[in-house]
């Protein structure tokens, strides 16, 4: 359903993406791994037009777009089919948890308030936070905020959800509650692209793994293949680091 070809992006002299490909099938969970500064986040941000890529094409639902020259209208139209979960949650600070989830339904999609509220409640229920519906983000823990952000993402029935290091700002205890919500989503067949440092999550939940470094894909494959039989020496070194941790 999503196919990205030869995406390039530089910030000044710094080439962050040097021609990366990515393809995601419906219902698939793709994990993007790699050391800091490898371009994972930039890749995700370019696909959702938070950054403008310098080159590359993207095919989404049989429609092809030039990533370097996508019109504002196309970007807005595509964004309504997708959702994005940020590393630092980015919940609307002036809205309660429930309002955060409703905003994209009522304002962006014109869904009647009553119906949107129902959907928002259901989404909050799913992430286990219906008892926090009237809390403002500042009154929630990081893990709770991220779960509200996930509820906000899935309430719009997106075709795909992009996760940008969703647990990197959380301590281990709170990481668990966010990961379990994501596991549940994956179990329900949600299409997901997840930039993460959580090896366990990538190994257990993802179908496909992409390992990036210095703006290129070093290795990719099914998650089983990737973790059991990594081909590249660089990948092995990377995985060893995490084995030692565990």
């Amino acid at each position: 359903m999503l196919e990205v070809r030869n995406i390039r992006k530089a910030f000044g002299d710094l080439e962050v993406l040097k021609g990366v490909d990515l393809s995601v099938d419906t219902g698939e969970v793709v994990a993007i791994l790699g050391p800091s500064g490898s371009g994972k986040t930039t890749l995700l941000r370019c696909i959702n037009f938070l950054e403008t890529a310098d080159a590359g094409t993207m095919k989404f639902d049989e429609e092809t777009f030039d990533l370097a020259h996508v019109s504002k209208r196309d970007a807005a139209r595509l964004r309504k089919k997708t959702a994005f979960v940020f590393q630092n949650y980015n919940l609307f600070r002036n809205k309660t948890a429930l309002q955060n989830v409703m905003e994209g339904l009522v304002i962006a999609r014109g869904i009647p308030k009553a119906e949107a509220e129902q959907k928002a409640w259901a989404a909050l229920e799913k992430v286990g936070l219906s008892d926090r519906a009237d809390y403002y983000p500042s009154q929630l823990s990081g893990g709770q905020q991220q779960r509200v952000a996930i509820a906000r993402a899935m309430a719009t029935d997106p075709e795909i959800i992009y996760f940008d290091e969703p647990t990197s700002a959380l301590d281990p205890e709170l990481t668990g509650e966010v990961l379990s919500v994501m596991r549940q989503l994956a179990g329900e067949g949600m299409t997901m692209v997840v930039v993460t440092h959580e090896m366990g999550f990538a190994r257990d939940v993802s179908n496909h793994v992409i390992f990036m470094e210095h703006g290129v894909v070093v290795e990719e494959g099914s998650s089983e293949e990737f973790f059991q039989h990594p081909k590249e020496e660089r990948t092995r070194a990377f995985l060893r680091l995490f084995d030692e941790e565990e």
């Binding site: 037009f49 938070l50 807005a76 964004r79 980015n90 905003e103 994209g104 009237d134 809390y135 009154q139």
Partner: protein
């Protein structure tokens, strides 16, 4: 204090307060409303880096902040008639105060808009909202909260600045006081009296500010509810 002076002060209290209620307050409220409209538009233009308009906004702020309010009043009221543009004192005062205050508030609003984390706008985009929708629903309300104390400050300063309108024959509180001084020869008592009335007005505004801040702070107070 002798009885005669006391009687004068009591008598003049109403005669100073009345133009306060009918001129000073309307002048402040109307001008500040226009100023806020100018400020929000000017700040949004700069925030969005709209070409040409941003330069115009910077020029406007530069000129207005760099020239005295009194000079601006004189240019509009005494100067413009040279070009055949004659404006009555009260509307002239409104125009000048709106434009003057607008420039200062525009800077407050611009800084407040820039203080909202960029992730808020990105989150708006990502849930499918447009720039203007996100601006109106997410960014501006948060910026308003940040700007509120500074804007209140400007409003309080403006109440007092309206006394300058006396110089272009607007009969506001200070002008009314001067007229009473002219025949009663009690400048000390009367100017203190008008000062106290300004203080009264500003005290009310200060109270309103703290009520407003509490209401706006609702979503920033950490901890359970």
């Amino acid at each position: 204090m002798d009885g005669e002076l006391f009687e004068l002060l009591v008598d003049s209290f109403g005669r100073i307060l009345l133009p306060g209620l009918t001129v000073t307050i309307p002048l402040t409220v109307i001008s500040f409303t226009f100023a806020m409209i100018i400020a929000v538009i000017t700040a949004m233009i700069q925030f969005a880096h709209v070409r040409v308009l941003t330069q115009l906004a910077r020029f406007y702020i530069w000129v207005v902040r760099g020239t005295p309010l009194l000079v601006q009043l004189f240019v509009v009221f005494y100067g413009l008639p040279n070009l055949g543009i004659v404006i009555d004192p009260f509307p002239a005062a409104i125009i000048v105060f709106s434009i003057n205050e607008g420039a200062y508030c525009a800077e407050i609003m611009r800084a407040a808009l820039e203080s909202v984390p960029s992730g808020q706008m990105e989150a708006g985009y990502c849930v499918g909202m447009s720039y203007l929708q996100t601006m109106r629903r997410i960014i501006l309300p948060q910026a308003m909260r940040t700007a509120f104390p500074s804007l209140s400050n400007s409003l309080i300063a403006m109440v007092k600045d309206t006394s300058l309108a006396a110089n272009i024959t607007v009969t506001e509180m200070f002008m009314a006081t001067r007229q009473i001084v002219a025949w009663s020869y009690e400048p000390l008592a009367l100017y203190i009296e008008v000062g106290l009335i300004y203080l009264m007005f500003c005290t009310v505004l200060t109270k309103l500010q703290s009520v407003g801040e509490k209401r706006l702070n609702v979503y920033e107070s950490a901890g359970g509810k």
